[in-house]
C-alpha cells in the first residue's frame, strides 16, 4: 500500500488546489501515468504516478482548495514490486521549464518541510497597515489581496490610464508571467502592449531604455534580478545617467521590476539581494516594498515617475495576503519610510521581506519587555534617513536588517547616516543582521544558517540593549 502525496511543484509552493482526477478507484496506474491536475496561484500542473498499483482510494476530492504539500491525496494497492515503506510525492509533468524560473520541482527526497526551513513567514496579523495608518483615508474599506495581485493591479490600472505604458519581459504575455504577476494583462491589453521577449536581458533592457528615451513608459520585467546582472549596464550606464549626461534633455521614464532577494533552495546564482547595488547609483530611484498596499501604491507611483526606477519585489511575498484600502488610484509616495510598529527601546530599520521578520522579532522582544520600533524603508533611493534618525533619537539604539551581505550594504548606509546625524543620541554601537558573507548555499540547513532570521534579529536587538 502506497500513499500518493500532494507534491510541491516549486520551491515556494506550500499548498494547492486538486483541480482534477484523471483516475478513479480500481484503475491500474503505471509509473508515468498522469493521475491528477494541480493548480497553484502560479501554475497548473499534471501529476504523474511514481509508483505502480491499483487505485484503492482517492483521499482528496476533486476541486479541494488549499491542499497542503505532502498531504496524502490517494492510496495505491501496490503489487509488491514498488511497495516502498515511504511514500513518494508524484512528479509534475509540465513543470515550468528549468532553473531560470526557480520553479524546478522539489526533489523527491527533499521533504518540503525542510525545504522551507527558512521560509516560515511571520503571521501577517503582525503586519499590514494598522487601522490607524495615517496613509489610509478615513472610512476606506480594506480588502485582502496578495502582493502578486496588487502588483498586477498596479500595472493594469496604469496601463488603462496611460496608453504609453507597456510591459515587456520574458514570459510576461502568453505564459502569464513566470510568477503570474502579469496574469490576464495580455488578454486585456493585447500583444502590442504586453510583449514577450527572448531570453536576452542585456538586449531587451536596452530596447526598453530606447523606448523610454523616445517618450514611452516601459515596464521591463526581469524574471528575477539575478538575471538583471546581464542588463545592469543599461540600467546604470544608459538609464540612470542619460538625464545628467544630456544636460537634462533626455528622459528615461522606465521601471525595471521583478523578484529580488533570497528565494528558497535555488542556491547562489538564483538567490541574492541586489538592494545596495542599485541604491548606490545616482539617477536611479530604488523601491523595495513589503506589503500589498505599498507594492501597489509604490509601483503605480514608479510607473508615473519621469525617472528610471528599479522596483525590487520579493518572490517569497508574492503569495502573501495583506489588507489594502479599496480606493480609486491608490498611490504611495516614493521616498518615504513607514513606521510599521512604534516602540521606545530600539529602532529596527529594514525593508522588503525582512519587515515581516522584524515585526515578528518585535513581538518576541515585547515578551521580554523590549519595545522595538520597526521602520520599513520602502524606498532605498532616495533614502528617508530622517525617519530612522528621528526614531533613533527616541530609542537611542539601532539594528538594521537586510537580506544582502553586510559589507557596503543598506545597513551600513543607514547606520552611517545615524552616526552622522544622531551620534550623541546613540547608547550602543548599531548592529547589522544580514545574509552571512558567503554565496547562498543549497543545503537546507546551511541556507537557513546563512539568512537573517527572527532569532538573529531578537539577539541583535537584545545586544544593543545590553540585555
Amino acid at each position: 500500500m502506497t500513499d500518493v502525496l500532494m507534491p510541491a511543484l516549486s520551491p515556494t509552493m506550500e499548498e494547492g488546489t486538486l483541480a482534477k482526477w484523471h483516475v478513479k478507484v480500481g484503475d491500474e496506474v503505471r509509473s508515468g501515468d498522469v493521475i491528477a491536475e494541480i493548480e497553484t496561484d502560479k501554475a497548473t500542473m499534471e501529476v504523474e504516478a511514481v509508483d505502480e498499483g491499483v487505485v484503492e482510494a482517492l483521499l482528496v476530492p476533486e476541486g479541494t482548495e488549499e491542499v497542503k504539500v505532502n498531504t496524502p491525496i490517494a492510496r495505491l494497492k501496490g503489487d509488491g514490486v514498488t511497495a516502498a515503506p515511504e511514500a513518494q510525492p508524484g512528479a509534475p509533468v509540465s513543470a515550468p521549464d528549468g532553473d531560470r524560473k526557480a520553479e524546478a520541482p522539489a526533489s523527491e527526497t527533499q521533504t518540503p518541510a525542510k525545504a522551507r526551513a527558512n521560509g516560515a513567514e511571520p503571521p501577517e496579523a503582525a503586519a499590514g497597515p494598522p487601522p490607524s495608518d495615517p496613509e489610509i483615508p478615513a472610512g476606506a474599506k480594506l480588502v485582502r489581496i496578495t502582493v502578486r495581485d496588487a502588483l498586477r493591479d498596479a500595472m493594469a490600472e496604469e496601463m488603462r490610464r496611460d496608453p504609453d505604458v507597456f510591459l515587456m519581459g520574458e514570459e510576461v504575455a502568453q505564459y502569464q508571467g513566470a510568477y503570474k504577476v502579469s496574469r490576464d494583462l495580455l488578454q486585456e491589453f493585447g500583444e502590442r502592449r504586453v510583449i514577450d521577449t527572448p531570453i536576452t536581458e542585456y538586449g531587451f533592457a536596452g530596447v526598453g531604455v530606447g523606448a523610454a528615451m523616445a517618450g514611452l513608459k516601459p515596464i521591463v520585467e526581469f524574471m528575477t534580478f539575478n538575471f538583471a546582472m546581464q542588463a545592469i549596464d543599461h540600467v546604470i550606464n544608459s538609464a540612470a545617467k542619460t538625464h545628467y549626461m544630456s544636460g537634462g534633455q533626455m528622459r528615461c521614464p522606465i521601471v525595471f521590476r521583478g523578484p529580488n532577494g533570497a528565494a528558497a533552495r535555488v542556491a547562489a546564482q538564483h538567490s541574492q539581494d541586489f538592494s545596495s547595488w542599485y541604491a548606490h547609483v545616482p539617477g536611479l530611484k530604488v523601491i523595495a516594498p513589503y506589503d500589498a498596499a505599498d507594492a501597489k501604491g509604490l509601483l503605480k507611483a514608479a510607473i508615473r515617475d519621469p525617472n528610471p526606477v528599479v522596483f525590487l519585489e520579493h518572490e517569497m511575498l508574492y503569495g502573501h495576503e495583506f489588507d489594502i484600502p479599496e480606493v480609486d488610484d491608490w498611490l504611495v509616495p516614493i521616498g518615504k519610510a513607514k513606521v510599521r510598529r512604534a516602540g521606545r527601546d530600539v529602532t529596527i530599520s529594514t525593508h522588503s521581506r525582512m519587515v515581516g521578520y522584524a515585526l515578528q522579532a518585535a513581538e518576541e522582544l515585547a515578551k521580554d519587555g523590549i519595545e522595538a520600533e520597526v521602520i520599513d524603508l520602502r524606498t532605498l533611493r532616495p533614502l528617508d534617513h530622517g525617519t530612522v534618525v528621528a526614531s533613533v533619537k527616541k530609542t537611542n539604539r539601532l539594528v538594521t536588517v537586510e537580506e544582502g551581505w553586510s559589507p557596503m550594504g543598506v545597513g551600513a548606509e543607514v547606520a552611517m547616516r545615524v552616526v552622522e546625524e544622531a551620534f550623541d543620541w546613540l547608547d550602543a554601537p548599531p548592529a547589522r543582521v544580514c545574509q552571512e558573507d558567503v554565496p547562498m548555499p543549497y543545503a537546507a540547513n546551511l541556507e537557513a544558517l546563512s539568512l537573517p532570521s527572527v532569532d538573529k534579529i531578537v539577539r541583535a536587538a537584545k545586544a544593543v540593549c545590553y540585555r
Binding site: 502590442r192 530606447g210 528615451m213 543599461h234 519621469p306
Partner: protein, 336 residues
C-alpha cells in the same frame, strides 16, 4: 536574406547640384571641425577621450541626407560628425568638447555623450554596442506609435561583435521594427584589425542568421551611401523590418587622441587618403560635372573655416558651468 550588392562608384546621374554642394559642405565642415578639435585637444582645452571622425565623413553625411523629420539617429562615442550632419550648431558641439555651460549637454556629457532632442539625435553613447539596443528601442517606439519613423543606428566594426548587438538584431527582426543598422567598418576596433577580431569579416552578413538583409556599401562615396541609405530606409519604413548596411570606411586618425598607431603603417593611411578620400571624391564629382569651379569651392571652404574659427573661439571663451550645476539634472524634478 542577405543581398550582396557592392555599390559602384557613383557618378550621380541627375543628382542635384545644390544637393551635392550641400553634402560637400557638410563633409568639409566635419573635417575642419575635427581637425580643430584635435588641435584644441593638443592645447589642453579638450580633455578625456576624443574620437575623431576624419576619413569617415561620407557615412554620416550620406545617411543623414535622406532622413525624415520623424526619424531618429543614435551612435557611439565617435559622434561629432553625426551631430554636425544632423544640423547641430558647431559652436554648441565644440563648447561641449571644452566642457562649457553653453555646450550641447551643458558641459556634463563631453565628447562621447551628447544629445539633441530637437534634432532627434539620441546620443552619443560611450559603451560599445549600447546604441544597437537603445536604437532598437527607438524603433520599437516608432512601431508602437505607428508614426512612420525609422531609427538609424550606427555602430562600429568592433561593436558588431557585441552580444547585445546580436540580441537586438534578433528582436528587431522578430518584431519587424523600422531600424536601419549602419555598421561603420573603419577596419580597426581601437588597434585590433577586423581580421584579428571577427571570424566573419563581411559584416553585412551579420544579420543573415536573423533573416535581416545586409548590404556592403562604399562608405567613402557619399552618393553610394546616400543611395543605399534611401533604399534601406524605404525597406524599414514600409514594414519589412530591419536592414543592415556595412559601410566600408577608414579613419585617418588614431582611435582616440592617445593612439600610438603601432598597428598599421603610415603608408596604409596615406594610400587611403590619396586614393579614396571621401571629400576629394565629391570635389572631383563637382568639378567633372561642371557643378562647381575653383571660386565656388573656395567660397565654401572660406565659409566653413570661418564657422569653425567662430566655434573654436566660442568654445574657448564661453564660461564653464556654474558650480551649482553639479547637482542639477540628476533626476527629473517631480512635484512632492
Amino acid at each position: 536574406m542577405a543581398r550582396v550588392a557592392k555599390a559602384k562608384p557613383h557618378d550621380a546621374p541627375g543628382a542635384d547640384r545644390d544637393l551635392i554642394l550641400g553634402l560637400y559642405r557638410t563633409m568639409l565642415l566635419i573635417r575642419r571641425f575635427e581637425e580643430r578639435a584635435g588641435q584644441l585637444y593638443g592645447m589642453g582645452l579638450i580633455g578625456g577621450f576624443c574620437h575623431l571622425y576624419i576619413g569617415e565623413e561620407a557615412v554620416a553625411v550620406g545617411v543623414q541626407s535622406i532622413t525624415g523629420p520623424q526619424d531618429q539617429i543614435i551612435t557611439g562615442y565617435r559622434d561629432h560628425g553625426h551631430m554636425l550632419a544632423a544640423g547641430m550648431d558647431p559652436k554648441l558641439v565644440m563648447a561641449e568638447l571644452t566642457g562649457r555651460a553653453a555646450g550641447a549637454a551643458k558641459g556634463k556629457g563631453g565628447s562621447m555623450h551628447m544629445f539633441s532632442a530637437e534634432k532627434r539625435f539620441f546620443g552619443g553613447h560611450g559603451i560599445v554596442g549600447a546604441p544597437a539596443s537603445i536604437g532598437t528601442g527607438l524603433a520599437l517606439a516608432n512601431r508602437y506609435r505607428d508614426n512612420g519613423g525609422v531609427a538609424f543606428i550606427y555602430f562600429g566594426d568592433g561593436a558588431a561583435n557585441q552580444g547585445q548587438v546580436n540580441e537586438s538584431f534578433n528582436m528587431a527582426e522578430l518584431w519587424r521594427l523600422p531600424a536601419v543598422y549602419i555598421i561603420e567598418n573603419n577596419q580597426y576596433a581601437m588597434g585590433t584589425s577586423i581580421e584579428r577580431a571577427s571570424s566573419e569579416t563581411h559584416l553585412y552578413r551579420r544579420g543573415a542568421s536573423f533573416n535581416i538583409p545586409g548590404r556592403e556599401v562604399d562608405g567613402m562615396d557619399v552618393m553610394a551611401v546616400r543611395e543605399a541609405a534611401a533604399e534601406a530606409a524605404e525597406h524599414a519604413r514600409s514594414g519589412k523590418g530591419p536592414i543592415l548596411l556595412e559601410m566600408k570606411t577608414y579613419r585617418y586618425r588614431g582611435h582616440s587622441m592617445s593612439d600610438p598607431g603601432k598597428y598599421r603603417t603610415r603608408e596604409e593611411i596615406d594610400e587611403v587618403r590619396k586614393q579614396r578620400d571621401p571629400i576629394d571624391h565629391v570635389e572631383e564629382l563637382l568639378r567633372s560635372k561642371g557643378m562647381a569651379d575653383d571660386a565656388a569651392l573656395k567660397a565654401i571652404d572660406a565659409e566653413v573655416r570661418r564657422m569653425i574659427a567662430d566655434a573654436a573661439e566660442f568654445a574657448r571663451t564661453t564660461p564653464e558651468p556654474e558650480a551649482a550645476e553639479l547637482y542639477t539634472d540628476v533626476y527629473v524634478e517631480t512635484a512632492a
